[in-house]
Subunit: 318 residues, 2 copies
Amino acid sequence: MKLSERELIERWKRALPRPRGRLRLGIGDDAALYELDGERYGIFTTDMLVEDVHFRRAWTSGEDLGWKSVAVNLSDIAAMGGQAELVLIAAALPPAVSVDEADAILRGAHDCAGAYGAQVAGGDTVRSGGPLILSVSAFGEARKDEVLRRDGARAGDLIAVTGSFGGAAAALRMLERGERPPADLLSRLHRPLPRLEEGQALARAGVRCGLDCSDGLLRSLDLIAEASGVSIVVSPENIPLDPSVRTKLGREVALELALEGGEDYELVVAGAEGTLRASGLRLTVIGEVVAGTSARVLLRDASGVRAAKDAGYDAFRG
Amino acid sequence: MKLSERELIERWKRALPRPRGRLRLGIGDDAALYELDGERYGIFTTDMLVEDVHFRRAWTSGEDLGWKSVAVNLSDIAAMGGQAELVLIAAALPPAVSVDEADAILRGAHDCAGAYGAQVAGGDTVRSGGPLILSVSAFGEARKDEVLRRDGARAGDLIAVTGSFGGAAAALRMLERGERPPADLLSRLHRPLPRLEEGQALARAGVRCGLDCSDGLLRSLDLIAEASGVSIVVSPENIPLDPSVRTKLGREVALELALEGGEDYELVVAGAEGTLRASGLRLTVIGEVVAGTSARVLLRDASGVRAAKDAGYDAFRG
């Protein structure tokens, strides 16, 4: 196939009719929203992890793999401001996977669900001649007037993030080079912490725009800008870099990994200063939303404001 | 791994804690039940189809594959007596799958969902070096006092089925032999029709025990007997055999395929004669539930009553 995964999802999204009836938001956000009743949305999402595409078994334990397969789904619920309730786990298992390893995967999945108040409600296991594949879907709930969506950014909003960035990508880069990452970075890669409490606190405080940062901070900002029909100006020096990455790899590489690396599963939100503060969370403001439908992400530093893509290429490859 | 898929699911079911809170039924039925409110259950299920395990691309079109991946999930909702609402589709696509084929899969999935009042609410696509895998999950709803469960059979109930049996297995057998199955049998294999209206009609009429027949009629009866702590006596001559299969392959083979072939996606239910009749459906009574916790399935013919397993071996291989 000549399309990227992203292009295929875009294509499928266009091919489907608009959501109707109680389905209020379909493909195109972190998760789908379905009206359970007058006050609540059900939140539905699915994510698939494929061996040698998203993980290597030599680098990750069964427990960590089970944990991560659930965490990336719960992160989508966090990104809508929801409470996680259920996960379903389908596993395609090649013959090389032992019963112990399969048990470890389930244990990790159960631990992650339980750590966030959710339960493993069902599953399917099948044999596969190919790679190990974990396909998880998750269900959560949110009050209808308290959800985060990609298209909720307005001119004048601040852009803020939870936690720090670059840790998961740094661990992956070190593994790819045959180096042994320190435990804190490995944990960022293999045991991501979905920001469910943070997402709910933000939604309760009145924030209406957010998503999780799975494909890199720049990509997340792009998605907000595009969905909301605004532009975003970011100050790279304000981006909270993972302290270990900065120490190990230097500030420039840490910034590159933060902007483009992905898999941090932090939340990126847009909101008025007061609503952000009302969440009571320790957030870092990294930029602001500006008017205009050019849907661009701009980086501002001492030398001025440039398109993120160009600035990116300058910083990373120039 | 030395365990079968069924054994692994049993193992995982035992490893998980009992459902708590609003999750009322977890792994171990066709789908999980979750209390949406005082009156409604949410119904959650997931099923994965793997190339060269569950289907071959040489034998099935993309549209049929998309249809079937959704239909087998909706069948689980039918088996609980529910109304289907949403499906999520995750696809692992090897490089050999073209954009046209991927589009056809989505089209088939959308067509099946739409034919039963459900919508495609989300998805994920990833590249895979291995087989084509479609992992679908589905969400439905049911009134709490109108659900079908495996453990609801009582002594004195009749055992009844929708439709006819053996068609899908016959088509598969012919394909495996290099023969071209007639269109009606191919359709049974590639375009199963989930019995959603039937499941709802049965649940509304007061039937409380049922499941879908995905792994063969005998296996389904086994599951009811085991879950309900009863035995079941079946009269093989009453089993509705697919008329094409009987014509093409003879009565004996047709019966074997009906009992053990699987993939028919008909409903098998247990209920009092009056409640079955109140459904208004054309059902076929094939047996009855008898007291005792021996959890066995017995076959009754002119020569007497024998355990299904022995009778099966006699009939099929003797």
